[in-house]
Structures are given as structure tokens and as C-alpha cells.
Symmetry: C2
Subunit: 311 residues, 2 copies
């Protein structure tokens, strides 16, 4: 039940309607791992600079994240992202992106990281994702995320990489852009045609849907009235989803398992947005996670008994 | 189990990626009634002109809609709307709106229409909606829809009318605009504060959610890859939803009943988009409706059994 995630480790500056933070722990691999460690031991592979210190490691290790594969680049600075969300948090403006040590990142995986049972390739350049996938050839289940930038400038490589994984986890805009489809269902089918057998489409405040050969699964988002900061929600979702698969090493990754994984991803992501950055998930308890999964099951339950209709 | 709907009866000209129709039966009350009659006897209150003839009545009566309260305005022309959808059917352009007989419409309800057990006020001017609500004071359950125009130019009247109904059924943009909230959950709560005890928010391809004092219910849309024409989907949803309530005259309108109503609304709306205008719903069978309700229940089902987490 070992899980390896490769992706960004960052400092974020974020401003939302609820306040601001000038410098806080962030990055896709960090958000992912803080969620996935609830379910499975997780190794983070990613670079940091000299400015990444004990306080940041303490957050990761406090949740039991394995940081042995975090690469310290001497003399370097950690990836930095600054953004501002409008009152409607669906509208985000990137104010600053300093790649720093991430600019020359070439993932080097320890033997333990390569032995991962489950692998998540967070949003990085698709050539690098594919190189990592080749190093983790034995992984039982591998998934990737991506972003509009790679669809724009490295689509061929991305499609090639997609062909090497079991699952793609993207948001609806990315799914449509990648496939040039305007309908989510059609877009998901087009991605499956590229190779993966599972496509998860994240819909933000509308929830998430999953497409496989067995059909479609849809889950509304947990109804959160007070979204403080959505940064990292998608990675937190992926952490819960992949963590659940890693937590069940002997179970077939079938439709029933994947549906439960969707629920854990959705539950964890719903907590992520309640505070800035990693603050809420870092303080989360196991009971809270299971309670929200139970609430999600209740949220969409109804009696499907057929009624007599007027023909 | 009688249901009265007051609203537009129209001819629509529609162009989508799938083709075009120059003149077909449409209007909110028509789409609503073709769906609701699967569940309860439905009277349509609305005006038509001399151009509304046997062919149109045949579609309504073919589904068992009661047309006794359709008002024929001698010398008038029926409401006409023309629109074009982009390849992404979420983007709609109105090309022409001829109110015609609808411009001077003042709803006159027969005693039978006034005796309705359940009342739906489709999108018309809110003063008119309130006048109808007063004529149907005994209705056990009343709901209204509205549109951005009335929020813009008649908000005070609309809020007053909202205070007289049990339920508001709007799309997410309207809910946010009406309440000046940016979050659907907050917007729904703000509408409940205006008086209704049920708020249904239609989310198009993302499904629908319902807010009551008992909490939140969310249902994904049925995954339709081939959307031909979304015109009337929201009214068809309302027809299924209100029809289900009307079909259960002796049952309390509680959370369990409302959830089943949401499923029937969602199922019927999913069929509506599969063909132009009323074509698909007018040809629908009872078995197809119940089959899709069952499919919807399966769509969002997962095992919520808690798992042991790493604390």
C-alpha cells in the first residue's frame, strides 16, 4: 500500500474574499500527500530550495508523509506562486509564478519510491511524467493530472504520456480543451480512447464525475457555504482518490472500489477549501473524513422505486 | 392530484450544432406540461393566437394535457422565440422575441384550474405570478421559476411573490443574481430567507441541487453525450418535479418525497435534450422514464462504509 506522488512543492501567496496569506506551504504534491496519507503511506518526490525548512517538513511529517525523496537543491529557492481569487472563487488571477528550483527539476526516484504500488503524476511537464512512469513500471495503478499550458505547448507528449497511465484526473475545462469536445461525456470518452481505463473529471463546486467501461459515476460536491481558499482542492481530491486505491492493495480496482475512492477524494477536497492552503487538511481527523463520506452518501440518496405513470 | 401551470405557449425557431427547426411547438408551460402529465393531470393556462391550431393541440392532448384553460386570442399571433446555440450548447444567443399575444396576457383561471392541488408559476412577470397565486390560494404546494429580466427590472415584486410560494426553481445564475451571492449554497439559503421552504437550483449539464431545512440533496445530470437541443430542459425538469408532488396528494411533501421528485425531474429533462423541442418527450414512454430514474439512482451510489484511516 505504498504511494508515490511526483509534483510541485511550493510556497503560495493567496488572497481571497476571506483574507490573505503572504507565504504558506503549498504545491500539488503537498496538497495531494496531506490527503493521501490518511489512507496510505505516501512518498513525495519534488524539489525544494534552501528556504524550505523545519516548519514545512514538520507539516508534512506531522501527517506522516514520507519526505525521504524530497530533493533539496542547495543554493536554490522553492517554487513560488501568487494568486488572487475574486469574491466568486471560480475566478482566479495568477499574479506571480517563480519556478525557481522547479525550472530544472528532473525527478530522481529512490528504489523505494520506484517500488510504489500506486503512482500519481501531478501536473508537471509531460515528458517528465512519462520518464517517472517508466521508472515506476510496476505500479499497479498510475494516474496523472495536467494543465492548459501542456495541452497548448506539449499536446503530443501529453497524449503519449496519457497512453501509459490507468487514469487521468483533470477538470472539465482541461478535459474539453484536450479533446476539442464541448460535452464532458464526449470528452471523457475521447480521453479513454487515448488509453486510460478511468477518467475523472473534477467539476469544482459541482462535484466530480468518473467515466469507465462500466459507465458513469457522478457525485455532487459537499455543500460548503464558506469557501475560504480553493487552492489545492483538486490535488487534495486526487490524494483522497489515489490514497483509497493504495489502501486496498489486494482489491481489484473495479467500479465499486473506484466509487468509494471518489467519495474519499470529494470528502477531503471539501475540507481543503474551508481554510487557507493546507491549514484545514493538516489539522483534520480521521473521524471527520469518514463523517463527510457518510454525509456524501446521504446527500444524493433517494428511493428509486418506480411509480405508476400516466402513459 | 390536479396540477395547474401558468406560462408561455410558443413557437420556437432553434438552431444547434445538430440542425435546425424553423417553427416548432415550445414555451415553458408546454415543456412543463408534457413532462408533468406523466405523473398528474395537468391544466395549461396561457395564451395562443390564430396560428395555434389542431397540430399543436394534438401534441398536448396526445400526452393527456388538459387544454381547457388555453386562451385563444382572436386575431392574435402566438409568442415566438428564435435562438441559436453554439457548438457548446451552454452558450445561447436569442435572435428574436415576438411577445405577440403574451404581451397583454392576464391569466384567467377557470374554477377547475383555481382548484389545483399543485401550482407552477412558470417564468412570467412576477405581478402576474402573484395574482395567479392569490387565485389558487388553496394549492397545497406552489412553486415559481423566473429569469434575469425580472430580477433586473422587477426585483421587489419578484421577492414579494417568492414570499407567497413554497418552492423556487431557478438556475444557478439566477439564484446568484437574485441574492447577490457568489456561492450556490449561500444563494439558496438567502432565497429560503425570503419565505419558501424549498429551493431547487438547476445546474444544466451538472445536474440539480435542492435546499430545505432538512439539508441539501444533490443529483448529477444523466450523462448524455449527444445533446441535440437544450431548449425547455429546465421547464421539463420542473414538470417532472412538480408532477411527482401532485401525483402524491396524500403524502407529506417531505425530504424523501422531494428527493424522488428531483429524480423524476432530472430523468425527464435528460430526455428533453435528446431531440429538438418537444419531440423526444412527446414520444416518451412510461417505461423509459422509470428506467432513467433507476439509472440515476445507480449513477451516484457508493458504499459509504467507513475505512480505517491513518490518524
Amino acid at each position: 500500500m505504498s504511494l508515490t506522488v511526483v509534483g510541485s512543492i511550493a510556497f503560495d501567496a493567496v488572497e481571497t474574499h476571506a483574507g490573505k496569506r503572504d507565504r504558506m506551504l503549498g504545491g500539488a504534491a503537498v496538497h495531494f500527500a496531506l490527503a493521501s496519507t490518511f489512507l496510505a503511506e505516501t512518498r513525495v518526490v519534488g524539489p525544494v530550495g534552501d528556504d524550505f525548512g523545519d516548519a514545512e517538513y514538520a507539516v508534512l511529517r506531522g501527517r506522516g508523509v514520507n519526505t525521504d525523496d524530497v530533493e533539496h537543491v542547495a543554493g536554490g529557492k522553492t517554487f513560488f506562486w501568487a494568486g488572487r481569487y475574486e469574491r466568486d472563487v471560480n475566478v482566479r488571477h495568477t499574479l506571480q509564478t517563480d519556478l525557481n528550483v522547479f525550472e530544472t527539476f528532473e525527478p530522481k526516484l529512490s528504489p523505494a519510491a520506484r517500488d510504489a504500488d500506486v503512482l500519481f503524476l501531478a501536473n508537471i511537464q509531460p515528458d517528465l511524467q512519462r520518464a517517472v512512469r517508466e521508472q515506476c513500471a510496476a505500479a499497479r495503478f498510475a494516474a496523472l493530472d495536467t494543465m492548459n499550458l501542456w495541452i497548448d505547448i506539449a499536446r503530443d507528449s501529453l497524449v503519449k504520456t496519457i497512453g501509459t497511465v490507468d487514469c487521468v484526473i483533470v477538470n472539465d475545462g482541461e478535459a474539453k480543451q484536450l479533446t476539442n469536445e464541448v460535452n464532458i461525456v464526449s470528452a471523457a470518452r475521447a480521453i479513454i480512447a487515448m488509453g486510460p481505463r478511468v477518467v475523472v473529471v473534477k467539476l469544482g463546486e459541482y462535484g466530480a464525475s468518473m467515466y469507465t467501461a462500466d459507465g458513469v459515476f457522478g457525485l455532487p460536491a459537499y455543500p460548503t457555504a464558506a469557501v475560504v481558499d480553493p487552492t489545492g482542492a483538486g490535488d487534495t481530491f486526487a490524494g483522497g482518490f489515489m490514497g483509497f486505491i493504495a489502501a486496498n492493495p489486494d482489491a481489484p480496482v473495479d467500479d465499486a472500489l473506484l466509487r468509494r475512492a471518489m467519495a474519499y477524494g470529494t470528502a477531503l477536497a471539501s475540507y481543503n477549501v474551508e481554510s487557507f492552503g493546507t491549514e484545514r487538511v493538516a489539522a483534520l481527523t480521521a473521524e471527520e473524513v469518514n463523517a463527510r463520506v457518510a454525509a456524501l452518501a446521504e446527500l444524493s440518496r433517494f428511493d428509486p422505486a418506480p411509480v405508476e405513470l400516466r402513459a
